[in-house]
Symmetry: C2
Subunit: 467 residues, 2 copies
């Protein structure tokens, strides 16, 4: 059986549920009550009722066999919780506690015991030493950070699988502020049982998920990933941020997750060979995943730039050319068509600079002319709502071209509060609007790489078929 | 005489002031009324009163000789406004209108006329074809974008001088949202008279300004900049974003500001020789200017990382080492001192990973131990307020170490709304907290470069003295 009920449990028991609002066992319960569609059972032998729910003294007294146990108690008691859950036939457990392998021999012994229980009873375990799972669609949330201190992102199209819980919490918090949507989040922790491989297999079949971002300091099972990745990549983009790429990073990763030293050349080569996008930092991963989740691959290097801010067009031209793209001068015919739309002192070359006289309709028509022209393969559009003649109708123009434009179009909006509210609405509608020029160029680089990866997958399928 | 009264005029006439709230002549007046400490005189022959102020039919009827005229009328009438202003002995004019050199021969003729008027009457002109000046301290604001659509940053320590008005408006809008403070903003436009050189001379002596960011597509006067830059750089960091560094960028810059093609190698070499920080994109310029305005130079390559999020420490180690820094293992003595502060399963190596058990006091003591140790030259601190034991007291810890720590310390906070409110308060207090790992590393790179530039200045002064 797959992991469906781990991500969408019908019923959940929270062992270690607490009445103290500062305790993890209370925060997890609160987060679940706010969004989960599952039946929730607090387990605590010292309480009658927690947050308005009847509390149970132990798992055995919970009136149904739940799909998922979340253990919020410390390491040694968590082992007993999982043992009992396994013996009751409960299929999934998330163990949040630290105090296992990462703390020394005694912790390693406890972790080994968890592994044995999983093998013996068939219970599948996420963690230990993790923050667990967040699924906006089903409201599952095992993370013990209160919403006042860290936000949870809205529903969306990217899944994020991370070995580091903190990296997950921080990026989801950032994403919540920016309006970037997630389909699922999983923090693997010590990976005593469930690893990235099974989670990836599940996400490959998850219809909500259109791209998958991975933060790993080590790979649990390289051979399985090698088999799996090309199959996933044929359907959905995969991005990898590998922690521990330098001697300093490797030492840090060894302290952090016990990762073995990695040769960065080999890791990067492996990644590319598998068709996995190799990213350099956490923001490239987060933004790249959003862009790859919703944009067509970029089939060539020629980019058309549309702007109302001349300087932004200039800097974008520089960064694009430095990244291996071209910003070709447009054909006489295209320039002629553009001149009919633009004010006289605007520039119909490339960048197409509409100047501060830009209107919603000019955005629409200029994007349309470039979409139809044979001069460029993709577009970088500075969607700037600050100038005098731009109205909220620009959002409709952006949304339509994002959805219908045959050529991939990356939108960048540089600005403050007014722009941010436009961006939030567009992101909620599935349009990944970026915040600065370098991010726009990085997005195009990933879309170009996506095309290369897909072509390779097709070639190797054609080759397999021919055999 | 200098440009003091341009940045801090005692009285301002707005020629082309309008009662129509959608017109530039109304927006400029509104922006001035909101913050300026100058006496304001609307000039409009068709109005008795505008926004509650008595309107005057022309400059000659304004009851005092103002320090500054802002011309909001089109190109040809603006020439007449500046002529009259010059003949009245008014010292400064900002001409916002486009329609000059950038539009063809007729516009070039008008621009030449402006230049002649400046020479003949002595009036000094900013622009034309610009958005002009914004000075938070004095409330001067000539920018014709309403506050509903674009924000204006709070007072602060960086000055931004830009050839591109849109680049200025967009970055100030972004800065206003993020709480990054400005001392002054100048958009040079077509530079018919006042160029970056004179503005830089003024800013060099401006006590509010601690760093200067420049966006230029061409240099108005390379020889003067060559004389001036080393003098400024001895006192204040200068950053340059050069638009037009590639063939595509050069073509775009030629369309945009008529810039001649630049050889990027020469421009970059010139920049480095002058001690000017060369930056690659607009965000590196904006963030780098904030960091350089308030941080000590970094005197060596050894960085200590302090974090409560292991993964962030790992990725930071990778990015630092890739950027030429080292993240050395700490001495046995330092590790011993750290162990006394940390929880048992925290890591006292480098990165120092306090884990999610981190407290405000641990941040304080860990930073203190690294500041005192001989093991590192600078610090990268992930100031993460999301974990359970962190309170608002962390802000005091950050502020104190920012101000008093002998070694430069760059703070990074990854997060959402809760973190953003902490960041805004810290930025308002002059602490440049950054948003992601790559920005933290870029900041350290600039601080390291600042040390190299200052050493060079000192050496060349010592050499001049010895001659």
């Amino acid at each position: 059986v797959g992991l469906e009920r781990l991500f969408d449990p019908r019923s959940i028991a929270v062992v270690g549920a607490s009445r103290n609002p500062r305790k993890a066992g209370n925060i997890v319960l609160r987060n679940l009550l706010e969004g989960s569609r599952a039946r929730i059972y607090p387990v605590n032998p010292k309480a009658e009722e927690i947050l308005g729910l009847k509390a149970y003294p132990d798992l055995a007294s919970v009136p149904e066999r739940v799909d998922l146990v979340i253990s919020v108690v410390p390491a040694a008691p968590s082992v007993e919780v999982v043992r009992q859950a396994g013996e009751l036939g409960i299929p999934f457990a998330v163990v949040l506690a630290g105090g296992f392998r990462e703390t020394g021999p005694e912790g390693a012994r406890l972790e080994e015991e968890l592994r044995r229980i999983a093998r013996r009873t068939g219970i599948r375990i996420v963690g230990p030493n993790c923050v667990g799972i967040y699924v906006p669609r089903t409201g599952l949330n095992t993370i013990f950070i209160p919403r006042e201190k860290a936000g949870y992102p809205p529903g969306g199209r990217i899944a994020f699988v991370t070995q580091s819980g903190a990296m997950g919490v921080l990026l989801m918090d950032r994403a919540s502020r920016e309006g970037w949507g997630f389909s699922a989040f999983v923090n693997l922790g010590n990976r005593v049982d469930i690893t990235e491989v099974e989670v990836l297999e599940y996400l490959a079949g998850d219809e909500e998920t259109r791209s998958i971002a991975l933060y790993l300091e080590s790979m649990a099972d390289v051979a399985s990933l090698r088999d799996l990745a090309p199959r996933i990549v044929g359907e959905k983009p995969l991005l990898l941020l590998k922690g521990g790429r330098t001697s300093a990073g490797n030492r840090a990763a060894a302290s952090h997750t016990g990762a073995m030293a990695t040769n960065v050349g080999i890791a990067r080569g492996f990644s590319r060979q598998m068709g996995i996008h190799w990213v350099e930092d956490e923001m490239e991963m987060l933004l790249g995943a959003q862009v790859l989740a919703s944009q067509r691959p970029l089939e060539g290097d020629r980019i058309g730039i549309v702007t109302s801010a001349g300087g932004a067009g200039v800097v974008a031209s520089d960064l694009l050319e430095a990244a291996g793209f071209s910003v070709p001068e447009l054909s006489a015919e295209t320039q002629e068509r553009l001149r009919e739309v633009l004010v006289p002192f605007a520039s119909p070359r490339n960048p197409v600079d509409m100047t501060a006289e830009a209107t919603d309709e000019q955005y629409d028509r200029v994007i349309g002319i470039l979409q139809e022209s044979g001069d460029v393969d993709g577009l970088l559009v500075f969607a700037l709502p600050q100038t005098a003649f731009i109205t909220e109708a620009l959002e409709g123009v952006i949304k339509r071209w994002h959805e219908e434009g045959p050529k991939p179009t990356v939108f960048v909006t540089i600005g403050g509060d007014y722009s941010a509210s436009m961006k939030r609405r567009l992101r909620a509608a599935g349009v990944p609007v970026l915040d600065d020029i370098a991010s726009g160029v990085a997005a195009l680089r990933l879309l170009r790489e996506r095309h290369a990866f897909l072509s390779k997958v097709k070639r190797s399928r054609a080759y397999s078929g021919a055999k």
